[in-house]
Symmetry: C2
Subunit: 181 residues, 2 copies
DNA sequence: TCGATATATATCGACTTGATATAAAAATCG
DNA sequence: CGATTTTTATATCAAGTCGATATATATCGA
């Protein structure tokens, strides 16, 4: 699935500017399982507009650059349907954190603790954000499902990190002691 | 973190060829949270060899192309330490499946069921694979931690999908009925 | 024996990211 | 009130990465 399909999907909910799409993907309901940069969003919108999948409405604003509000067309909806009518590719999960944990033996005890606690804090905050918007999207069952998924997965991660914290940091500390002998 | 650091990390465990690195990343302990293609691995190895971070040993094989076995040098270990001495970037999770679930209203009931059950089966298999290699890596505490993390997260996903299955498919079916009225 | 799969390296087009540029309104703050 | 930061908004580009493909041989099962 490419950025074009992502944009079509978002625009199937409501019309939006490239900037708004980026914000949705960065902070909104989408942020937990999708990525997209300006460098891919803007060309995608321009391209799809030229293909008749979107319409643009330039909202003039005093001084500021025109706001280009994109809306999906029938052709766009057809293209979206087509793109969704295939089995999704396997999920992709990239974690520099887990890579560092795997190489934990190469880290100092302090560094490990710093990395671990930062990750735990970030995950806890993320869980809070997900729970915060669980009430808002209670209408659509797709939204509810995705929000619940986020809570389940991030919740499990937080729980695991909390459970293993002592063990992990102690083991790293004792290993440092071994090395010092 | 780039592919170069990934290669250094793997080569800090043992020497390997580009092909073996790709297999480890694709099937081994790393596969659940790392990605890398030949198109990035081979150039990275060549480049780092020229910088003195790796050594190559060409193992001749009758007929087959030479096996280029790479090993990390002291300079390579130093570079790895340096690369690990920063806070990891936030994890990235990309899921076409969740994107489709979000747009579930645009899918037919049959398509939704097919997508859902495929995902559930894939996740269950992945959980099996992770559990299968949990005994093997019981020695290193980094390996144990990462394996446990995988079990916790994928286990939570499987559980969530199983719990919500009826609800999700029923709701999709009833929505189809609404649309038909 | 014949097609499929595995071993092994290598390249390349297409796509994406992350950074940067530009510009002005709005908000924050001493 | 004036100064600084943040937010709104579009756009581009180098660097990095993926996915596909090419090449060549061995091995394994039907």
């Amino acid at each position: 699935m490419n950025i074009r399909t992502l944009c079509l999907g978002i625009l199937s909910f409501r019309e939006a500017t490239g900037y708004e799409i980026k914000k949705l993907v960065e902070e909104g309901m989408f942020s937990h399982f999708i990525d997209a940069s300006y460098g891919s969003i803007y060309p995608a919108l321009t391209h799809m507009e030229s293909e008749g999948m979107l319409t643009v409405r330039a909202e003039e604003q005093s001084g500021k650059p025109d706001k280009k509000v994109y809306a999906i067309t029938e052709r766009g909806r057809a293209s979206l349907s087509e793109a969704l009518d295939v089995l999704p590719r396997p999920d992709k999960f990239k974690s520099e954190f887990l890579f560092q944990m795997l190489l934990a033996r190469a880290l100092s005890g302090e560094q490990l603790a710093a990395v671990y606690d930062t990750r735990l804090r970030d995950l806890t905050e993320e869980l809070g954000r997900i729970k915060a918007c669980s009430t808002a999207g209670a209408t659509d069952f797709g939204l509810r499902f995705v929000n619940g998924y986020g809570q389940a997965i991030v919740g499990a991660a937080v729980q695991y990190l909390e459970e293993r914290r002592e063990e992990m940091l102690n083991e790293a500390a004792s290993r440092s002691a071994d090395a010092a002998e």
